[in-house]
């Protein structure tokens, strides 16, 4: 049975191009389940999948996160995905080169500081970002491309941490390569 209020919240999130994660970081530093993800998960087959298909969207429910995509593949279909991938790859490779573990990016009480992001944004990486159409500073692009879409968040220390969606991308990388 669909929860009307949650359904409206989910719709707003998806139409704004945002991901809904299973767990959400709380101000007290804990990770709590997101009721909207549970709502989607529990009613995916019975209601939501068909509902979104009927209005021209594909509802993607992955392990730990969900989002919707338009069934019309226009010119910008892959642009956002390319930018997200570039940002994530630059950050992950950057912190590795500085000597940190990848877990720095995925552990909710650790995270990557703005200072590290500035160190990561070196010559070649800057050029790659430009070639992907990311012209602002890495910190600003991360905010626009990852944080507003719920692919990453800032923890209580103000450091950048990947959500399940961000980690989902790296699961693809670790499985693919």
């Amino acid at each position: 049975m669909i929860d009307k209020e949650l359904s409206q919240q989910i719709y707003r999130e998806f139409m704004n191009g945002r991901v809904i994660n299973e767990l959400v970081y709380q101000k007290d530093g804990s990770m709590q389940p997101d009721a909207r993800y549970e709502e989607l998960f529990n009613n995916y087959d019975s209601d939501y999948r068909e509902l979104y298909e009927n209005i021209g969207y594909e509802l993607i429910l992955k392990d730990g996160f969900a989002f919707s995509r338009s069934l019309d593949e226009d010119d910008s279909y892959s642009d956002v995905a390319m930018k997200i991938q570039s940002l994530l790859m630059i950050i992950a490779r950057g912190i590795q080169e500085l000597g940190y573990d990848f877990e720095l990016l995925t552990t909710h009480d650790a995270g990557v500081s703005d200072h590290l992001l500035e160190q990561v944004e070196t010559g070649e990486k800057r050029d790659i970002l430009l070639a992907c159409g990311l012209k602002k500073s890495l910190i600003d692009e991360v905010k626009n491309g990852l944080e507003t879409r719920n692919i990453a968040y800032r923890n209580a220390k103000g450091k950048l941490v990947l959500t399940a969606a961000g980690q989902g991308f790296f699961d693809e990388v670790f499985g693919d390569v």
Binding site: A81, A92, L98
Partner: protein
């Protein structure tokens, strides 16, 4: 000055950290038991530098002098050409025993030696006449038990070492603060060390302790010991056989400890492998992205963008189609009672609509009245024009105003004094004879209005 062996050893033990550091150096180098003299004196100088009393400094310098150590029999080698020294193995072993974390694990080769010993014992026993009192058998029995004790001791030491190492290294990994770069480096090193211990020591020890291990040559160590016990039992020596079985069970009991260590370390080994895999994958994926970017290097880079459909962006396609929809939401799912909303709309809008309608009607009515008045006036003017056209006025008339007044009053409905002036105008335009004003002022009063005028007299016959 030569210091005696016992006193030298006591001082060495009092300052054991120097020798534990040297053992760490040996373990890190993995190049046998040789220590460069420069490394040795570096540690000793650091120790002496930390002591304030000059007398103590001098005493320590003498005790830790290489010549003194050699005289005390604590060095087995002092190679001046290569500038290296080797401590006697009992010295190194002694310090290793002070810290189980520094005990040396048994390598595959050392375990193989222990296994071979047991197989050799069995082989010799089978060749020998088993009879107590027989010199050859008695000598062999001594060797058999010596080998068993050696195996017990070595395995025990090995397990202690593995436990110590596992504890020390796992502590480093568990206390790892991901934000701290130095700790991250130490943890990465600890994980590498765990991986090495796991592969080179833990698994071979478990193989050594496995009685069913399938080997190309000979029997597993414990199986060989079991057979030794059987041979002795069959030869009517159950007491000795029992001692051998006790020794075997003692060795086998360590299998449980080693299995526990294996399970503990396996978690870190998996962590190490996972991190290595992650590192390699990110490196490879980034290099692919960089290569794709470098293909754009064809001179000027202006307006050169990567193609989002390129194969290098395959992993990111899980987010394909994710974007903010650029339109207003077509569905209105807000929690609104539309019937109530419509009623409210009618309540507010209907009065407005009625007012608007009334105003519009009123305006239309005003315009209509105005038109009617204008039209009536127009008709009246035309009537006056017509009447004045029909008017026959005598040529000798002295007061035209009075004449027209009486004429129109008689002929025109709703006559007013204003109509008199309108009639005069039409009369002037009709007659050709001039109108002469008289030098006097007359008055006509009609219907509440009064007109004062200079009377006009017609000169001559009126003609059109």
């Amino acid at each position: 000055m030569i210091v005696s062996t016992d006193k030298t050893l006591i001082v060495m033990i009092e300052h054991k950290q120097v020798f534990l550091d040297l053992i760490d150096y040996l373990d890190e180098q993995e190049e046998g038991e040789e220590i460069p003299i420069s490394v040795y004196y570096n540690r000793v100088r650091r120790l002496i530098g930390s002591i304030s009393e000059e007398r103590d400094q001098k005493r320590l310098s003498q005790i830790f002098d290489i010549d003194n150590l050699q005289q005390a029999g604590l060095l087995i080698d002092h190679d001046r050409h290569r500038a290296v020294i080797s401590f006697a193995s009992f010295v190194i072993d002694m310090f290793r025993h002070f810290d189980s974390g520094r005990l040396r694990e048994l390598s595959s080769e050392q375990l193989e030696v222990l296994r071979t010993d047991q197989n050799l014992s069995l082989e010799r026993l089978k060749e020998c006449r088993i009879f107590p009192g027989d010199e050859q058998f008695d000598d062999l029995l001594v060797v058999i038990f010596e080998r068993l004790r050696n195996a017990q001791a070595r395995i025990k030491q090995n397990v202690s070492s593995l436990q110590g190492q596992a504890e020390r290294l796992s502590k480093i990994v568990e206390e790892h603060n991901l934000d701290d770069l130095e700790q991250t480096r130490k943890t990465q090193k600890a994980l590498e060390e765990i991986n090495r211990i796991y592969q080179k020591h833990v698994l071979p020890t478990l193989q050594f302790l496995n009685e069913r291990e399938n080997l190309k040559l000979g029997l597993p160590a414990l199986t060989a010991v079991e057979e030794i016990a059987s041979e002795l039992e069959n030869a009517g020596l159950p007491g000795i056989s029992q001692r051998v079985l006790f020794a075997k069970n003692s060795i086998r009991s360590y299998a449980k400890d080693v299995e526990t260590i294996r399970k503990t370390l396996e978690r870190y080994v998996r962590q190490s492998n996972r991190q290595r895999h992650q590192y390699d994958c990110i490196e490879t994926a980034f290099n692919q992205l960089r290569d794709e970017f470098q293909l754009l290097h064809d001179g000027k880079l202006n307006n050169k963008y990567l193609d989002s459909e390129a194969e290098v962006f395959r992993a990111g396609r899980i987010f394909s189609g994710l974007k903010k929809q650029r339109f207003e939401a077509k569905l209105d799912w807000h929690d609104i009672d539309h019937a109530q909303c419509f009623d409210e709309h009618l309540r507010v809008e209907l009065p407005k609509l009625k007012d608007k309608q009334r105003n519009a009607l009123a305006k239309f009515s005003d315009e209509d009245t105005s038109d009617l008045k204008e039209r009536t006036l127009m008709l009246k003017k035309r009537k006056i024009q017509s009447l004045m056209g029909d008017c026959d006025i005598s040529a000798s008339h002295e007061d035209i105003h009075q004449y027209v007044h009486e004429y129109l009053q008689d002929k025109l409905e709703q006559y007013s004094l204003g109509d008199l002036l309108e009639g005069l105008s039409w009369l002037r335009s009709r007659i050709s004879a001039p109108l002469r004003p008289e030098f006097e002022l007359n008055t006509i009063t009609y219907n509440g209005l009064c007109l004062e005028y200079f009377p006009l007299a017609l000169e001559g016959e009126c003609s059109d």
